[in-house]
Each structure stands twice: as C-alpha cells, then as structure tokens.
C-alpha cells in the first residue's frame, strides 16, 4: 500500500506515520508526508492501493474545497480530522473512512483495513456522489444517475442518465470497491449499474451484451455472465 499523510500538525503527522507503519508492516510499500493535497497527488502514482490520510483543517485551506478535490483524485482518501461536521459529506463523496481526532491505533487500523481489496463491501458506506474535475473545477455527479462506467486507460468514464459522459480519475477497480452493490463488473473494462440494465442478449456476431435503459449495449464477458444470471435469478 502507498500512503501519503497530509497533515500540518507536526506531532500528529508523526503519530499517523508511526501507527501506519506498525499497522501495515510489510503491506506498506511507500509512505510520505505532504504539506498539501497537490504535493500528495504528485507523490502517488496510479496504484489502486494508494491512500491519502487527509487533515481537512490545513492552514489557509478551505476544508470543503479540499474534500471535493481529494474525492476527484485517483487515490482513496481517509479523512483524519478534528472537526467531525464534514463526516456525512465526506462519506457521500466516497472517502473510505472518517477518523476523528484524537484516535487510537485500533481506530486507524480499522480505517486502513477498509482500503484492502478483501474488505467486504457491505461494511462500507457507499458514496452518493462522484467528484469529477473539468477544467480545474470539481463537479459532483450523483451516483444514482450513473448508468455505466467504462475503463479508459488510467481513467474511467461515467455514463449518466442525462446522456452525458464524464471523465473520472479513479480506476474501475477502485470505483468497484467504493460503489454500492448495484454496480457490477460485466467486463474487464465495464461496470454497470444494474438498476438501468434491461436485458441480456446475444448479438448477431454471437457476443453477449447487456442492453441498458438508455438503449446502449455493454459487452458481457463469459466469466461475468454466469454471475449476472445468478443475480438475475435471485432477484
């Protein structure tokens, strides 16, 4: 796991670093300190297990703006904050956890555990908004309006019910981990909101596709097709 700590309280930052090292042990790939979110973005690659431990109360920064910008970045975010008044908003934006100060090692361990791939999705609070950056501005897309998400290199493309498409910085893998159970992987590069799925058909060339509410079709790979049928039967 790659960790960057954004915290301007020296001793607090030192505490987070010390505890993260103890908790993750050999799971920790790299750890660094950043004075700002911008620095953190520069320090982290596009790894799916990149996590930023973010203090929302950085001097001279607006916590609201900081939260939105963090949500739009590819990494996952754990907020470590003295103010808990932004917790609900943070969860809506898809932060992994919100750790109030002061905290114990156990509490921090619990937050870090949620980043792990093996974490059961039901134990997490799913975001209701996805943040996308467009020309330096952060827009919030309601998760419920997302029909499908398509992999696009390092980014992912959100297809929404109003017919628009938005580029999001998180990878499909990361998003699948964050989003609620309605979102199912149907293909290596396609994530579909099953609420908008209408029928699974085989097209003229023999490919299996999922027809969506807006008329578009998403290819379904064989491995995922079996699981989709299971879901369909149980529903």
């Amino acid at each position: 796991m790659h960790v960057v700590i954004v915290e301007d309280e020296t001793v607090v930052a030192r505490r987070i670093e010390r505890l993260v090292r103890r908790i993750l042990g050999s799971d920790l790939a790299t750890i660094g300190m950043a004075a700002s979110l911008r620095d953190a973005v520069g320090m982290l690659g596009r790894a799916d297990d990149a996590v930023v431990l973010l203090d929302l109360n950085l001097s001279g920064e607006d916590g609201f703006d900081l939260l939105h910008r963090a949500a739009a970045e590819p990494f996952q975010t754990i907020v470590v904050s003295a103010n808990i008044d932004r917790a609900v908003e943070a969860f809506e934006l898809g932060v992994v956890d919100f750790v109030p100060k002061p905290f114990t090692e156990e509490r921090l361990a619990k937050a870090l555990a949620r980043v792990m791939p093996r974490q059961h999705p039901a134990e997490r609070r799913a975001p209701t908004l996805l943040a996308v950056t467009l020309a330096g501005r952060v827009d919030l897309i309601p998760v419920a309006s997302v029909i499908a998400i398509h992999g696009a290199d390092d980014y992912s493309e959100l297809e929404t019910s109003d017919g628009r498409r938005h580029l999001h910085k998180k990878t499909l893998t990361t998003l699948q981990r964050l989003l609620p159970g309605d979102f199912q992987r149907v293909h290596r590069s396609h994530l579909v909101n099953l609420r908008f799925a209408r029928s699974m058909i085989t097209d003229t060339s023999g490919r299996r596709v999922l027809r969506l509410a807006n008329g578009s079709c998403v290819p379904v790979s064989r491995t995922h097709a079996a699981r989709l049928r299971q879901i369909e039967d149980s529903a």
Binding site: D8, V11, V12, R14, R15, S59, D62, K101
Partner: protein, 569 residues
C-alpha cells in the same frame, strides 16, 4: 402627551365655573370707618360720611375697623329652599352683623394685639330669615388684624352672599380634581424614586422624583386652605411654605433639564436660576407674585437648557422646548392671576410630559445596557469557545496521545501546559479588563502547548513593557494564535511584543517572524473578536491593523492609556 395636557386644561376650565349665584346680589363697594362703636352695626345708622371702597381694598391690619354694606335682596328668593349665608375670607378676626344683630364671627376683634383673639380664615354665617327685610338690608363687620407677622397687600380675600353650604360645596368641587393631581404626583415621586434606588441610579430619575415631591408639597400647602380650617396668622406660614416649595421645585426642574440637555452649562444655568429666583422672592410684591416669579424664572432656564439640548441634538429636546415655552407663555398671558388651580393642572400635565420622556429615556438606557451585557456575554462565550473548538482541542489531545505513547514525560508536561492555558483562560474570560501580565501569561501557556504540538520552540518576549496596564482579555492571545495558524514556521519562532506611547495613548505591536506559508483566510474571526473587544471597551477610541512588514507579520493595537493601572497596582 399633548392630548393628555389638553384634556387636563379643558377639564380645569370647565370646572372653574364662577361661584357667583345670580340669585344673590354681589357685594361691590363697602363703607369703612376706623374705630369702634356698637351702634355701627345698626341697620339705620347713617354711614354716608364713611369712606367708600371695594371690599377687597379693606385693610384691617394693625387697626380695628367697621365695614358696612347695603344689600337689597330680590323678592323672589325663597329663603327656606335656599338659606342665605355671608361668606367671609379675611386675614383678620371679625364679627358679622345683619341688620344690627350679630350672626357670627371668627375669633374676637380687638383694639390692639392683646385684646384680639385670632379666628379662622374662612367662615360662613347663616342669616336667619327673621332678620331679612324687604328692601335694603345692612351687612356690617367689625374687624381687626394684629397677629400677622408681615404686612399683606390684600388681607380681605372674599366677602359675598351665598346660599348656605354652597361655598363648602364649591370648595370641595374645586379640590376633587386637585386631589387626583396630588395622586399622580405622588405616584411619579414613588415610581422614579424606585427607579433610582433599584435600577440604574441615574440622577435624572432622582431629580424627577424630588421634583414631583416639591410640586406635591406646594399643591398640598395650597389644598390645606378649604379642607382644614386654620387661624388666620398661620396663613403667612402657609404662603411661605408655598413659596419655598415652588422655589425647590423650580430648582429641581432646572437641575433635571440641565442634567438631560446641558450638563456642561450646569454651573451657570443653576446659578442663573438661583439669582433670578432670589430676586423674584425678594423684590416681587406679595406672595403670589413672588411665587409666580420663582416659577417663571425656572421655566425660562428650562427653555434655555432644552435649547442647548436642541443644538446638540439631544433626543426629546425639541419637544421639551416647545412644551416648556408653551407653558411659560400660557402662564404669563393668563389675566386671572397666576398660582391657582389651573396652574396646578398645567404644571401636573407638564410633569406627566416629563415622566413620559424620562420613562422613554430609562427604557433606552436599559435597552443599551442589555445590549452591552449581551455583547459582553457573547464575547466571553467566543473566547471560551475558541479553546474548546475542535481544531485546537482535538489536535492538542492527539499530540498528547502521541507523546504519551512515545515519550510519556513530555506528554505529562504538555498536559500541564494545556491545563495551564485552559485555567488562565477560564480565570479571565468573564473580566472586562485584565492586566497585561495575565494576558502575557496566557499567551505563553498557549505557545508552550503549541511548542509541544508542533515539536518546535515558540516564545514571546516582552521587554520593557508595563505589565500593570490593563486591556480587554484574549486580544493578544487571539493574535498569537492567529500568527501561528497562518505561518508555517519550520523551526519555531520568537514573537515580540513592543509597547510605545503616542500622547496619552499606548500602542502595542506584536511582531511574528513571517516564514511564508498561508496568510489570510482564517483571520476573519480572530480579528473580528479583537475589534469587537476593543469596541466594547474603548468605544471608538482605538485602532487595530495587521500588516506584512518585511519578513514580519505585525499586529498593531492603539488604545487609550490605562489611567487606573497605577492605582490598581
């Protein structure tokens, strides 16, 4: 207010109907002879050689004299239904004769002081029907007045024929509304005395309360006649009491007006009043004009004082000028004498007007006090809240957690520092002013906490600063807090407090090394607190600025010298 006064004046005029009963003849002129002879009472005595004069010119002072008047009664008078009486009001002892027969008297008149027994001032005497004649009747009075301390201008106040009992009824009717006024004055006196004693101890209320009492005393002294018969020599005392009460009321009225409108001119306005009143009391002939002069002097000064108030834009000054000047003009222009019942109506109405104004004034002061208290409470709360606000408290506690786990001794020291800061703050948060020494101690406790939190060293120097000077609490603390929040000091910092004098004002400069990093943004709240505190304490007599000078952040506060600091030391 105006309608209230108008209503009172109209009521006064309406009830002031004349006593004159058209059924009985008016006594106009009488014949007077000095000396004494029992025959002078007789109906058929020839008094043509006597001096003729209107009854009110008769002067029995220091002599014994006889007064005779011929009255012809109208035949239509039904004497059984309306018994006839002679009403006399005179500062003298007298005997009343009707057609030669004595029908009554007051005291015993005599040829000198030792022979005279003083009687009551106001009397009425029944005229038995058997004494009445058709045609001319003769009313004769034997009077002497040797017991007055001073000579009066008109010792005979009243000589008339009336229906028996009508005088008493008339007096009662006249007095009833006056009793209501006495009630209003008493109520005002008590109300404003209570306001003075329980609420704000403002001089205005006290003066108004005493003024009400003064006018009440004058009114009561006035009312005594007619309600409580008294021997005529006491009349002088009563007149003196009225003059004294009028003077006291006048002075209090001026003091009140000066207090409200022209405090700076207090000395000469009060002196002017004193001189004018003394002159009136000394030079004016007769008690009535003395009293009138005293009251008019006071009203003139009140108009002047309120005029000063108008120029200064004092609330209510304009109305007061108009009302007081109106009262003044009305009093002077009245032909029928000055100090009578109508006068008391007008003065009571004027006092009611002042009452209303004073209550409004008290209300405004009360509101302002409540607002100030609310503001102070809000500032206190804000100061306390800053210390339990999550950013400060939770970050400090997180740092404490870290020190406890890695270096328990430092952890305990940090807890000590945190406790010290919270204690210092709790001790001063409810004070309006604190010595600089306490404020500096609070700042240093905060810097110590921050030193542990940031694991850097923050200090504050304050050489050559008079730490006994006092200032509103939490101001420097707020600025120190701000300075650390908005500066990214990599290696700690030394803050400096400098004090300089500018005339009778002191200037505090807090210098913080400016190591770049973010500035602005969060300063709003802290600076707002500093400004609000300065405003609360010094009104508009302060200045605050914060600026980046070279490589320092400089907060500058200018405020008045703490004059009490040395006494408090």
């Amino acid at each position: 207010m105006v309608w209230m006064m108008a209503a009172i004046v109209v009521a006064a005029l309406a009830t002031g109907a004349a006593l004159a009963n058209p059924r009985y003849p008016h006594i106009e002129n009488v014949r007077v002879a000095v000396g004494d002879d029992p025959l002078w009472a007789a109906a058929d005595f020839d008094d043509r050689g006597w001096e003729e004069m209107p009854w009110y010119r008769v002067d029995p002072q220091q002599r014994l004299l006889w007064v005779r008047s011929e009255v012809t009664l109208p035949n239509a008078v039904d004497m059984d239904a309306a018994p006839l009486a002679v009403a006399v009001a005179a500062l003298a002892s007298y005997e009343v004769y009707w057609n030669g027969e004595r029908i009554g008297g007051s005291g015993t008149p005599g040829a000198d002081r030792s022979l005279e027994l003083p009687g009551n001032l106001d009397t009425t005497h029944y005229v038995p029907p058997r004494l009445l004649r058709d045609g001319p009747n003769v009313l004769a009075l034997r009077m002497s007045s040797f017991h007055l301390r001073r000579e009066l201008r008109r010792p005979v106040h009243w000589l008339a024929l009336a229906e028996y009992g009508a005088i008493e009824q008339w007096v009662l009717k006249q007095r009833l509304p006056t009793i209501a006024m006495a009630g209003a004055l008493l109520l005002g006196a008590v109300y404003f005395a209570m306001m003075f004693l329980t609420a704000q101890r403002d001089r205005g209320s006290l003066l108004l309360s005493l003024l009400s009492l003064g006018v009440l005393a004058q009114l009561v002294a006035e009312l005594v006649r007619g309600l409580f018969p008294y021997p005529y020599p006491l009349h002088i005392l009563r007149l003196e009491v009225i003059l004294g009460a009028a003077s006291a009321s006048g002075l209090l009225l001026v003091a009140y007006a000066v207090e409200r409108f022209a405090l700076d001119q207090r000395r000469w306005l009060l002196a002017l009043t004193g001189v004018a009143m003394a002159a009136s009391a000394y030079f004016a002939p007769g008690f009535d004009s003395k009293t009138a002069g005293v009251i008019l002097s006071a009203l003139v000064v009140v108009v002047a004082a309120a005029g000063v108030g108008v120029r200064r834009g004092v609330a209510g000054a304009k109305t007061t000028v108009v009302v007081a000047a109106g009262l003044l003009v009305w009093l002077v222009s009245r032909p029928e004498g000055f100090v009578d019942r109508t006068y008391y109506f007008a003065v009571t109405a004027f006092l009611l007007f002042l009452f209303v104004q004073q209550v409004g004034l008290l209300r405004r002061v009360q509101d302002a006090t409540a607002m100030a208290q609310l503001r102070a409470a809000r500032l206190e709360l804000e100061l306390l809240k800053r210390q339990i606000q999550p950013h400060f408290l939770m970050n400090s506690l997180t740092a404490v957690s870290e020190w406890i786990e890695t270096d328990p001794k430092t952890g305990v020291r940090m807890i000590e520092a945190l406790a010290g800061e919270l204690r210092a703050l709790a001790a001063m948060s409810d004070k309006a002013l604190v010595p600089l020494a306490d404020e500096l101690e609070l700042c240093r406790q905060h810097l110590e906490v921050m030193s542990y939190r940031k694991d850097r060293r923050y200090t504050l120097t304050s050489e050559g600063v008079d730490t006994a000077q006092r200032l509103p609490p939490g101001i420097l603390h707020t600025l120190v807090e701000n300075a650390l929040t908005h500066n990214a000091h990599a290696t700690g910092a030394m803050l400096r407090l400098e004090v300089s004098k500018r005339g009778d004002r002191r200037v505090y400069r807090l210098r913080t090394p400016h190591a770049g990093g973010a500035t602005g943004g969060g300063e709003g709240r802290g600076h707002a607190y500093v400004r609000a505190r300065l405003q609360e304490t010094y009104g508009n007599d302060w200045a605050f600025s914060a600026a980046h000078v070279d490589d320092e952040w400089v907060d500058t506060i200018e405020m008045p010298e703490d004059a009490d600091a040395r006494r408090h030391r």
